[in-house]
Amino acid sequence: MSYTLSGVLALGFHALVVVLLMVNWENEESLAPIPLQPYYIDASVVGENPFEAEKKEQARRKGERKLKETARRDREAQNRANQAAVERAKLEDLEKRLAAENAEREARQKQALEQLDSLTNRDTASPGDEKERLKREQSLALSILEEQSYRRAVTDDEKAMAFVGQIQRDIVGNWSRPPSARNGMQAVLRVYLVPTGEVVNVVVEESSGNDAFDRSALLAVQKAERFQVPPDSRQFERNFREFTVLFRPDDLRL
């Protein structure tokens, strides 16, 4: 008897609780729905864009090469012309080194050719022909070198772009823009990495004018903590030791 009564009471108690819970839940429904807007983020790496850096590098090298050639032709005149500016002086230094290398190579080639000549056509060797051949061979070697360096530059570019893309994705994945972000804002951050890819420092180089936006950009880089960088230290030093990142929301409706 006592158990039946208790059972009924327990059942009633639970039913009451469930009903109260339901009612409470229904009433709160009016507060809840706030539709979430999807976030689209566009962060891109600019400034020392490895691609552009590579191009610049290439242009510089090309210039050097040209200089080298002219130097060989007309060293005296160029020496005089170069002494004016400091930058030029630096270039000259480089040039000298290259010229020395060149001279050495030339000498070696000459020696080899002489040996070859002495072995093969000892009789027909004439000083004019030999000079001609030397020149031809030199230009051939030069063009091969040029092609090799060009090819290497291209593959380096591709590799660098892959890493840049990955870094971009990492940053974008960690970037949550503040509600105050507007189209047209842009912040430029300078990021310093160590060769393992860890971020050692990041500073705002060019503020967007909105503190929250700058902070969100800083946070995005700091949260990423570590980027994938090329294992090749030469490439790392050139493109990834320090680089700038441009944060710019382009797709907001505001």
Partner: protein, 225 residues
Amino acid sequence: MSEPISILELVLNASIVVQIVMAILILASFTSWIMIFQRGFALSSTRREAIEFESEFWSGKDLRKIYLDLEAREEDLTGVENIFSSGFKEFTRSRQQKDFDADRVMQNVQRAMRVAMSREEERLETHLPFLATVGSTSPYVGLFGTVWGIMNSFRGLAAVNQASLSVVAPGISEALVATAIGLFAAIPAVIAYNRFSAQVEVMANRFEAFTDEFSSILFRAAHSK
């Protein structure tokens, strides 16, 4: 996802493990509430009867008459009444023997009353271990359900490309319902257990006091002749 999910939907959409956990907890809660009501009634009626009987006992009525009244009652004797009747029965029986020794009679009477008292205490304590078990384990059971649910929802999160709060939120919400039910079952059970065990203690003291008083009366009666 424009409107919030109702709690019923949460429970129905939960994974099977979480649902089993919730079912166990609801059952535990239901059973423990049956125990709570039943114990409450039983303890209060025991106390009421004890008070009534003691007032009758101390009213100066003839003990034999009280005993006969109790024997005449149809329902089972409980609490103090049971202790009194078993003591008195033993006393009369021992005295009817030819060469009764007052000390031996008292020993028998006290033994009989002690047995009756321990039986009564045992009866008072029924279901209390169940309440203690529900009170101490159902939070853990609920927690297990929650951990399981959260585990699953995070596993789901790992598979999703664009991770957002709305991917994990329903899973965590449904998992937390398990903990809520666990606490809902545990809290009343713990409170009831503490309350009832204190009441049982009080009743046991009362029984003991009555036993001592009654045996001193019987002692006087045994030695007076």
